[in-house]
């Protein structure tokens, strides 16, 4: 294998970003969930909400810490490995990430201090508000970074001067054609990911007969959320794909394994795209299915991979399979949520143990779907880094392969240790449960306005 610097830089970026995105996918949803639990606690004053809130906050702290440190690495990757990219796109991507720092990172990082350490120092409402602010921070962060990424997919609102992209209309830059779809799809993905983790943990408690009350609350809250969000994701994803067909048709051709644009496309349930022979092997397909989905007509045609020369095609196998993994998980999520809701409605949810067993094992599916989705998006954009403007091969830094390779090895080793330890501790926190060792008893802790609280609650309940 020859180590060309572009390949190594891509590998390093892919490795570090995949590691990073694992944590946002979880913390974006979890921050919102914690804030929701806090609000419920303030409104209803039931302990189980506070117990759950404090429990998830500890897990949140561990994952958020890993998200922060791996995110800081990302913001330096553009300079260390992609300095040509920074020159060509820095005028656009830079300010967007600058807004992310100013409107999101400071907010998250500062109020996290109160969420983690302030329980006995601030009144309950401020504690819950801090949780809400952290959640808003994670959403604001998604907004700006996805604007940057979407601009790289579907650039708009700029003009090229001496080979450098210069902003002309910031509103067009931010609200570029793929941004609304990507934002909705990713934020929803993060909520789904968290939903399945909460669901799995709840199911695990119910099955194990420990913390049954908290476990049931978790399962119910998760199913109520997922039964709405999982089908919604199918809808958003469909719209997202139609939009991509308009702006990056070759990416869609790779997702569908569609070679010949002169015929309607089949929906391949399975196939092995052969990039040399320019056709699929071992196809199992629904005839014209892809045309029906993408053009809403059985005779509809859309561009095939063969409409561009091979050096302008993305890696078809990667995109094709990553897309199938994501959609398969999406469909499983819908099925699980709907079935869970059905059982809940028939009041047999907590007696159907085989189903709870499946749920308890499915905490990881959201993460895999998110990573697969990003592989579709990013690999599907190849060979472009900024679509139509800058090729990946032209975007690297003047850094020798040896430097990139040695730092890549360091990243793999360090992240390996961090990840293994992180997973181990999170797992142990979950095993200890909401009433585990280091947990404070909530009652005396409500000190600051604790006395006024029950009276206020009664007044509200009347």
């Amino acid at each position: 294998m020859d180590f060309d610097p572009v390949f190594l830089a891509r590998l390093q970026f892919a490795f570090t970003i995949i590691f990073h995105i694992i944590f946002p996918s979880f913390t974006i949803g979890l921050a919102a969930y914690i804030a929701t639990l806090g609000t419920q606690w303030l409104r209803r004053g039931e302990d189980r909400y506070l117990v759950l809130m404090r429990f998830w906050t500890r897990i949140f702290a561990v994952s958020f810490g890993m998200g922060v440190v791996s995110g800081i690495v990302m913001s330096y990757q553009f300079g260390t490995n992609w300095s040509r990219f920074s020159v060509v796109a820095g005028n656009i991507v830079g300010p967007l990430m600058g807004y992310e720092v100013l409107s999101a990172f400071f907010l998250e990082a500062t109020f996290l201090g109160i969420l983690l350490f302030g329980f006995n120092r601030v009144p309950p409402w401020l504690y819950v508000v801090s949780a809400g602010i952290v959640a808003i921070g994670t959403l604001s962060s998604s907004f700006w970074i996805l604007a940057a990424n979407s601009w790289m997919q579907t650039p708009a609102g700029h003009e090229m001067q001496n080979g450098v992209a210069v902003p002309v209309d910031w509103l067009q830059v931010i609200f570029n054609p793929s941004f609304p779809y990507r934002l909705a799809h990713m934020v929803n993905a993060a909520f789904l990911t968290t939903g399945f983790v909460v669901l799995a943990v709840g199911a695990r408690y119910v099955l194990g007969g420990r913390f049954v009350e908290e476990g049931r609350t978790s399962v119910r809250m998760a199913i109520a959320l997922l039964v709405v969000l999982a089908p919604l994701q199918l809808f958003i994803g469909d719209q997202h794909g139609l939009n991509t067909l308009k702006h990056q048709p070759i990416k869609v051709a790779a997702m569908e394994g569609h070679w010949d644009g002169s015929k309607p496309g089949d929906l391949h349930l399975f196939a092995w795209p052969d990039e040399k022979a320019e056709k699929n092997k071992f196809e199992i397909s629904i005839p014209r299915g892809a045309s029906l989905i993408l053009t809403h007509s059985l005779d509809g045609k859309f561009p095939g991979l063969k409409s561009v020369p091979p050096d302008q095609r993305p890696p078809v196998v990667t995109v094709f399979f990553a897309f199938r993994i994501m959609v398969a998980i999406g469909l499983f999520m819908i099925a699980a949520a709907l079935f869970g809701a059905l059982l809940w409605w028939r009041r047999t949810l907590f007696d159907t143990r085989w189903f709870l067993h499946i749920l308890a094992q499915s905490w990881w599916i959201g993460f895999v779907a998110v990573i697969s989705g990003w592989v579709v998006t990013e690999s599907g954009r190849q060979p472009w880094l900024v679509y139509g403007i800058l090729r990946t091969a032209d975007a690297t830094s003047p850094v020798p392969s040896a430097s990139i390779l040695s730092t890549l090895i360091l990243f793999v080793l360090c992240y390996g240790v961090v990840f293994a330890a992180g997973i181990y501790y999170i797992n142990r926190l979950i095993a200890q449960g909401p009433r585990g060792s280091a947990q404070v008893t909530p009652e005396p802790a409500i000190s600051p306005i604790g006395g006024a609280r029950p009276a206020g609650r009664e007044a509200i309940n009347k």
Binding site: F111, F117, P167, S397, C414
Partner: protein, 334 residues
């Protein structure tokens, strides 16, 4: 008007980096002091004194990096490849330092994460010193891109800056502990701060002599004729502040030593700024050459002018929430 904007950006980024150095400097200093603590309880107390703040402090580094990309993409694109290895090693150090906070609280055996915390803090600080040294000694640029090799930064001067910054952050960390803790931890920190102050002064003197000798442009900046008339107060004020710091440590003051250390750092920083302005990448790329398109600089400047005061407001608020000393044995629990 538009021609001032790059200078405004240079000032904002300069301020962000200064805030980073001072604020994460004390966190990293506490990290480096970790192995010297006598017991697990003392280490708990030290860590609790920075627990609520470190993440926010580190964010100034993200603003420094992100702001550089936004306002001066060319400088970002030159500096990062030039200082590739120290920058990445710094990031790895920050990773171990950062995760140690959470992992240490949830793990049964604290040893491993104590080590990760101290090791990460030291590696990150030393690498920041290398970055500083590599920057001051100049970066080779051709055709708007870095034109040197992967180890151009590795000079005796840069290594010296690495050590010097470690001593500096240790002083910040020690005076922070004097201010924010009590009991044995604070007493030991006070004793150490006295030695560290001597070390810091020696380092500052070394740098002040070394850079003008090695870099004629810096010698000229300070010693050429009208300049010296304006600039002589800088070293004099530095000496006075050092004296104040030493006295306040002797007299058992609690807050003054930390403040004096900050002022000392800012003066050293000012000295560096005087030596290198208007170069963003010495000795060739200036603030104006590296500037982003005006539309980019203005767009983010508006947001900065609006949001930065709010940020400073809530940062101050959080410091206020966690005001007072972390007592031995007490916990903020979480």
């Amino acid at each position: 008007m538009v021609s001032y904007i790059p200078a405004i950006w240079a000032a904002i980024l300069g301020a962000a980096v200064a805030l980073y150095v001072v604020m994460d400097g004390y966190d990293l200093g506490v990290g480096m002091l970790f192995p010297f603590a006598k017991s697990e309880a003392e280490r708990d107390q030290m860590m609790r004194s920075i627990g609520p703040f470190w993440d926010g402090n580190e964010t100034w580094l993200v603003l420094g990096g992100g702001g550089l990309l936004a306002a001066f993409p060319l400088a970002y694109a030159v500096v990062m490849p030039a200082l590739y290895l120290p920058v990445i090693v710094m990031l790895l150090g920050l990773i171990f330092r950062g995760i140690a906070f959470e992992f240490r609280t949830v793990s049964r055996s604290k040893k491993m994460w104590n080590a990760a915390f101290a090791f990460g803090s030291t590696v990150a600080t030393f690498s920041q010193g290398l970055v500083l040294g590599g920057f001051v000694q100049g970066i080779k640029v051709e055709n708007n891109a870095y034109a040197g090799g992967p180890f151009d930064w590795a000079t005796p001067f840069a290594l010296f800056c690495g050590v010097a910054l470690c001593i500096g952050y240790l002083l910040l960390g020690a005076t922070w502990l004097v201010m924010k803790t009590d009991g044995a931890v604070a007493d030991q920190a006070r004793t150490r701060a006295k030695f560290l102050l001597l070390g810091v002064l020696a380092c500052m003197a070394m740098v002040s002599l070394w850079t003008p000798f090695a870099q004629p442009r810096i010698a000229e900046r300070w010693f050429a004729m009208p300049n010296i008339l304006y600039l002589w107060p800088v070293p004099v004020v530095t000496a006075l502040v050092a004296f104040w710091l030493g006295r306040s440590l002797e007299k058992g003051r609690e807050i003054a030593p930390f403040i004096a250390t900050i002022v000392l750092f800012l003066l050293g920083y000012l000295g560096l700024a005087i030596s290198n302005f208007p170069y963003l990448v010495p000795p060739s790329v200036t603030v104006w050459q590296a500037a982003a398109a005006p539309a980019s600089q203005i767009f983010l400047l508006l947001g900065t002018l609006l949001l930065l005061p709010i940020i400073i407001g809530y940062v101050v608020f959080v410091y206020w929430v966690f005001r007072g000393k972390v007592k031995a044995g007490e916990s903020y629990e979480h």
